[in-house]
């Protein structure tokens, strides 16, 4: 066993800290996966990680690669536990952060309150100096007021400073000057400028991005330092990488600069896992679906590429504008619909499922911890889809009396039978998830029938068959590591940085030169960053995208560029690529000028991800994996006696027809009547959807 063969992923969640440990036996090539879980240990989160490594008996010195994901950043924001932050901005614009964009999402509400800015007005200070949209200086920067500002911040015990100046996406010089001067005047205060995170226009969004990054910076710094030091003290001398929201991993040093990039690392690793699984199996088009306890998240992977967006919002919903973050984040639709989502009837008799969730505590009624409102999990139990005698992998006795009582009460309100109520809950939950899947596919011009559904998380296998049938998706894959799939995705990740830049020019004969120059500059920026962090820029490969629109439009369509970029010869082909994408999404083309509005460079490098080895079949008979039979309600297909399989005993090459249920420690897979399940060479369950 050599050190290089041990890869570990740790994931700090709000409630639990998870560990997945992947070791490859050098002699046999056999791969083993171990998982462990401890309670998350705020505020010293790294303590939980260390505890976990000890608990799992992982020798620190043997770990070659450690990927780490954390919800510490998003939690600090949603719980408002970040640093006291000050903002420095351009004269005349300190109120931008408070004015935001002026929208009122629920327009019937006359007493709507805007989200409160993360920096109060008296800590938003201004400096004279002005750029224009070409990045030309109109008014020189005047730093003479800065000492006063810093002094004022010190009096108010400000811990972090954000800098965002107008048009810094086009020219960062003034921001750099402010940054340097702040560091000189107040070396003890952490500071971040907007251009370090994004080079895109829209001053409110960029200002808020800088502010939120500053807000979490001291926490992230402390956290990453402690983690790094504790691991080193424990004898770890492998490479530590931090999961990012763009589906890549990055170094501790780089993450420390702009920690906001960690914000959605959890969902990103799951989506990346689905993309990697697709690559491994030769499936380029994947719909990834992660059904957890409180939410379901989905994302579309086209031609092996995850979609990374640069205009992401937190806390945004029908009743709240939320806060924008212009960091590269995987394009996800998330809905409040998971195993713990509560079914409820409104004042006027309509049934809803979620978004309120019973969470981990009290959890579904079946947990017997005081939950009284039926959840999706309770409905699945009542319908026999989840085994009441093997609840949570046999670690818990399901309180079926409680479940039945709660369903009966709901059924009573709706004037239907308990069984119908349970089916109704599952159907409405499924419908909500179908809507989410449509949002990432049909609404963007993709036909779900061209995709394979990769479903994971605790509830993925339970609902995937029904969702696929409804969307006419032909094939579903439940990954072998479904329950720890995010961790699996982390150990499969590459080093990756996404650079977005607002860049304006017409797609005409001058475009090739301009674009070439701009991309060369971006690439050299990327190489420079890697070199300065002691990484070998030679390992990087680049992928170039550009964003196009018809003149006078606002929203742009991103198109991948050929390897040789935009040239005089391929101008028409590039326009065609844009128009094909545009027409797919919007149904028409226009005979007008096409403009370039943005560049997107992806810099990627492999740093030793897991090489998956095929599992060997022992020749076990399928009948040996049969646990028993049980009556199961398949909702619209009817009620059938299903064969129960023990997931742990299934092996490559096995195949069987629905109605069937696969029970494994972390997940249940429902195979509907008419569908066919088989186990592939890596232990994934592949369900071919058929009709009853």
């Amino acid at each position: 066993m050599t050190a290089a063969n041990v890869r570990v992923a740790t994931d700090v969640g709000g409630t639990f800290t998870d560990l997945a440990y992947f070791e490859t036996d050098v002699e046999t090539g056999e791969q083993r996966v171990r998982t462990a879980k401890v309670d998350t240990t705020p505020p010293d989160f790294e303590r939980g990680v260390l505890e976990l490594l000890h608990k799992a008996d992982v020798p620190f010195s043997e770990i070659g690669f450690l990927a780490h994901g954390t919800t510490v950043i998003i939690n600090a924001i949603t719980e408002r536990k970040g640093a006291k932050t000050g903002l420095i901005t351009t004269s005349g614009f300190r109120d931008v952060l408070e004015i935001a964009r002026g929208d009122r999402p629920n327009f019937f509400d006359l007493v709507y309150r805007k989200p409160v800015p993360f920096v109060p007005r008296h800590l938003r200070r201004e400096l004279p100096g002005r750029m224009n949209y070409h990045g030309e200086e109109l008014v020189p920067l005047d730093l003479s007021g800065l000492p006063d500002i810093i002094e004022g911040f010190a009096e108010e015990s400000v811990d972090a400073i954000a800098v965002c100046l107008l048009h810094s996406y086009a020219n960062e010089a003034h921001e750099v000057a402010v940054l340097e001067e702040v560091r000189r005047l107040a070396p003890e205060i952490s500071v971040v400028a907007s251009h370090q995170i994004t080079r895109q226009w829209r001053e409110y969004e960029r200002t808020n991005t800088a502010v939120l990054s500053a807000y979490v910076q001291p926490i992230a710094d402390r956290y990453l330092n402690n983690l790094n030091n504790s691991l080193k003290d424990g004898g770890f001398d492998g490479s530590l990488y931090i999961m990012q929201s763009n589906c890549g991993i990055d170094t501790v040093e780089s993450t420390r600069q702009t920690p906001i990039t960690m914000i959605e690392s959890g969902p990103a690793s799951g989506v990346w896992g689905a993309a990697e699984l697709g690559r491994l199996l030769g499936i380029p088009n994947v719909l990834a679906l992660d059904i957890g306890g409180t939410t379901a998240k989905c994302s579309l992977i086209e031609d092996g590429q995850v979609k990374i967006i640069s205009d992401y919002w937190i806390e945004r919903n029908q009743a709240n504008s939320g806060y924008p973050i212009l960091a590269p984040v995987v394009d996800i639709v998330e809905i409040g619909n998971g195993g713990g989502s509560i079914a409820w009837v409104d004042d006027l008799g309509k049934l809803h499922v979620g978004p309120q969730s019973a969470g981990a505590n009290p959890g579904p009624v079946a947990y017997g911890r005081g939950g009284t409102e039926p959840t999706t999990t309770d409905a699945n139990l009542a319908l026999g889809r989840i085994n009441a005698d093997y609840f949570c992998g046999g670690t818990m006795v399901a309180d079926m009396a409680g479940v039945n009582k709660s369903l009966a009460r709901l059924a009573d309100t709706l004037a239907v039978s308990s069984e119908e109520a349970a089916r109704g809950i599952v159907r409405i939950a499924n419908h909500n998830m179908i809507n989410a899947l449509k949002l990432v596919s049909l609404n963007r011009g993709y036909d779900p029938r061209d995709f394979t559904l990769v479903a994971f998380g605790g509830g993925g296998g339970m609902h995937a068959n029904a969702l696929a049938a409804e969307l006419q998706i032909k094939q579903v894959i439940i990954p072998a590591e479904s329950a720890v799939f995010s961790a699996w995705g982390m150990v499969m990740s590459d080093l990756r940085r996404d650079y977005f830049k607002t860049f304006l020019c017409d797609l005409d004969n001058d475009a090739p030169t301009k674009l070439k120059e701009a991309f060369v500059a971006l690439e050299s920026q990327a190489r420079g960053e890697f070199s300065s962090e002691g990484l070998d820029p030679g390992m990087l490969n680049f992928l170039c995208f550009a964003r196009f629109r018809y003149r006078n439009q606002e929203h742009s369509t991103e198109v991948v560029l050929p390897d040789d970029g935009v040239t005089a010869e391929n101008l028409l082909e590039i326009r065609e690529r844009f128009e094909v994408n545009y027409e797919r999404e919007y149904t028409y083309r226009l005979p007008t000028v096409v403009e370039v509005v943005g560049l997107h460079l992806v810099a990627q490098g492999e740093v030793g991800k897991l090489a998956l080895v095929e599992k060997r079949a022992t020749g076990r008979k399928l009948s040996e994996a049969v646990k028993g039979r049980r009556q199961v309600d398949f909702d619209v297909d009817g009620s059938f006696e299903a064969v129960l399989y023990d997931g742990a005993l299934l092996e490559p090459g096995m195949s069987f027809a629905g109605p069937a249920i696969i029970e494994a420690a972390g997940a249940t897979v429902v195979v509907n009547p008419g569908s066919q399940a088989s186990v592939d060479q890596f232990g994934n369950v592949v369900v071919t959807i058929g009709t009853a």
Binding site: S91, G92, F93, R94, D95, V96, E98, I99, R101, G102, D103, R104, P105, N106, F107, F108, D109, L110, V111, K114, P120, R121, H122, N132, Y133, L166, H167, R202, E203, Y204, E205, Q318, D347, L348, K350, E420, G424, R427, I428, N435, L442, N443, A466, A469, E470, Y550, N552, Q553, E554, H555, Y586, T587, Y588, L590, T592, D635, V636, D637, N672, A692
Partner: protein
């Protein structure tokens, strides 16, 4: 595909409540999908950024089955457009066929608002039967008429306000009506924008119609119809349930407008009926009239706000509403009265009704807000590209304080919703001017136990040699109203600060000439205060001073604040 147990035959007997629920949820999702499709493809910033647009699903009888996002004005306007087309086709024997798209922008012919707002309605056919209509509407930059942008403060007849589309087929059986489109383009000063925005609107109704067809096919027409019918009943129950809890009685209010006209209303709340009577009103001699349908919108939105301000909205919500108007008045004008600035008139009406009720329901409603779109049009030649530019935008303003909190700063008016302002960085690139500042309005006013929110002060500096400005602000003479003892807010106005140092103040002006380095300063009102200022907690006053919302002198004068005592 799973076989659903609800075949047509079974559903005739009994409908599965969960299928009904799923269809109802789908209606909302379809509206949202149409909204996204339209927003992303529109040419004009007023559509894609300001989101002066809306989408809806309408049932075959012209009832609003589900409303999408957008601005509230449009949400309940599209059923009226579809209802007009349905009636017109029936009366004139026009055959409605699959693939047809009808266009209307004429308030005298189903268009509801003004000629700039072009609505598309598309029938959804299943088995030869119309099961629903997909509809959308958006503000187009220029549809002809006597001034650029089509809205003229001096218009007295609708003929001066642009080309009228009286509910005609712009697409027939899937084929664009090219001659009509040619007529439309040649009538517009901005034909490229017109064509782009037109296709955005057509694409969106097509998306909606396709989805509706899929849903109706999947679950069967009878079940689909039943789902819509029950959804409307659900909307009605929502309103009736809330009506029970409102105070009953007959309330009146009248108020002088900036124009000198006096508008009046009577609202009567009964156990099972909500009556809004605006019969006793004058006619506006200019373009500030609004069609009866548009006036009805103001009453509908107010009813929704005081009964169930949640996002679910359909025609059923408004069944308990009785709306009374008098032909030949500002709220129900006769052809050819001009209506270009309908949006300001509808906001005036909304504010009038709001104030009438707020006096009775101060626990439910905030004090007055800046209550004007403060529409501003700036145009000229872009100094960098040499291309002409013109844009119209509504402005942000302050909202009134309410029973439990201060008013909101810098938010779009009560007739906007999912509307976004244009970022300065984009504005400067697109329109070739400079935004010198965007900040909260420091003017006095709006003090109270809960103070009004701040309006904005925004400076546009002209970079081109020449340009022009048109503005139409109301509440420029009479500021936003305070409630239960709170102070009135501050007025809306626009200043032109010339290079020579002179300052002109305007509220309503057409095609005012501007020159390089002139600054157009837009100032929008601070909202009205709520409650006696002397009841404002000391720490709130201190906080206001610290944050620069208030000076110490003003705090002493209005709040009785004294720095030395506690």
């Amino acid at each position: 595909m799973s076989a659903y147990p609800l075949s047509e035959d079974q559903s005739a007997v009994e409908f599965d409540p969960f299928t009904i629920e799923i269809i109802q949820n789908s209606l909302q999702a379809i509206c949202d999908e149409m909204f996204v499709a339209m927003r992303k493809t529109a040419m004009s910033s007023i559509i894609y950024e300001v989101l002066d647009m809306g989408t809806a699903v309408v049932d075959p009888h012209g009832n609003l089955a589900s409303a999408g996002a957008g601005i509230p004005l449009f949400v309940a306007g599209l059923d009226k457009a579809a209802a007009f087309v349905i009636q017109k086709c029936a009366e004139q024997g026009i055959v409605i066929e699959p693939g047809d798209v009808f266009a209307t922008n004429d308030p005298y012919n189903g268009g509801v608002t003004h000629l700039n707002d072009v609505a598309f309605v598309m029938p959804v056919f299943v088995d030869g039967e119309i099961v629903a209509w997909a509809a959308d509407i958006a503000h187009w930059n220029d549809v002809g008429g006597m001034v650029p942008g089509s809205m003229a403060t001096t218009a007295t007849e609708i003929y001066q306000e642009g080309l009228r589309l009286p509910g005609v087929k712009i697409v027939a059986r899937g084929e664009p009506n090219e001659p009509l489109i040619e007529v439309m383009k040649v009538n517009s000063r901005m034909p490229d924008f017109l064509e782009g925005d037109m296709w955005a609107g057509i694409a969106a109704v097509r998306v909606g119609a396709r989805r509706l067809e899929e849903v109706a096919n999947k679950y069967g027409v009878k079940t689909f119809n039943e789902a819509i019918s029950r959804y409307l009943d659900y909307g009605e129950r929502m309103t009736r349930k809330a009506l029970v809890d409102l105070p009953k009685g007959r309330f009146t209010h009248s108020e002088e407008q900036d124009s000198g006209l006096v508008y009046a209303c009577v609202i009567e709340i009964r156990e099972d009926e909500f009556i809004v009577d605006v019969r006793n009103n004058p006619l506006d001699p200019g373009p500030h009239n609004l069609s009866r349908d548009a006036s009805l919108l103001a009453a509908q939105l107010l009813l929704k706000a005081v009964t169930d301000p949640g996002p679910t909205c359909n025609g059923g919500n408004f069944r308990p509403l009785t709306f009374l108007t008098q032909k030949g008045t500002v709220f129900d004008p006769e052809e050819p009265a001009a209506q270009g600035f309908y949006y300001e008139a509808v906001l005036r009406l909304y504010d009038l009704l709001w104030r009438c009720l707020a006096n009775e329901l101060p626990h439910l409603m905030p004090a007055g807000h800046y209550a004007s779109m403060c529409a501003t049009v700036l145009g000229g030649t872009h100094p960098d590209t040499g291309r002409p530019y013109a844009f119209v935008e509504p402005e942000l303003g302050g909202w009134g304080g309410s029973i439990d909190s201060d008013g909101t700063n810098g938010m779009f008016s009560g007739f906007h919703g999912v509307t976004f302002n244009c970022p300065a960085e984009i504005n400067e690139a697109r329109n070739g001017l400079l935004v010198d500042r965007l900040e909260l309005n420091p003017d006095l006013g709006g003090e109270g136990r809960h103070r009004g929110g701040k309006g904005i002060r925004m400076d546009y500096r002209i970079r081109a040699e020449e340009g022009f400005m048109t503005s139409f602000f109301t509440r420029s003479k009479f500021p936003p109203w305070g409630l239960v003892g709170g102070n009135d807010g501050s007025p809306n106005y626009v200043e032109v600060r010339r290079v020579d140092g002179s300052v002109e103040r305007h509220s309503s002006v057409t095609q005012l000439k501007l020159f390089r380095d002139d600054v157009v300063r837009i100032v929008t009102g601070n909202g009205g205060g709520y409650g006696d200022p002397h009841e404002r907690p000391r720490e709130s006053v201190l906080d206001d001073i610290k944050n620069g919302y208030l000076t110490e002198e003003r705090a002493q004068a209005v709040y009785g604040f004294n720095t030395t005592t506690r």
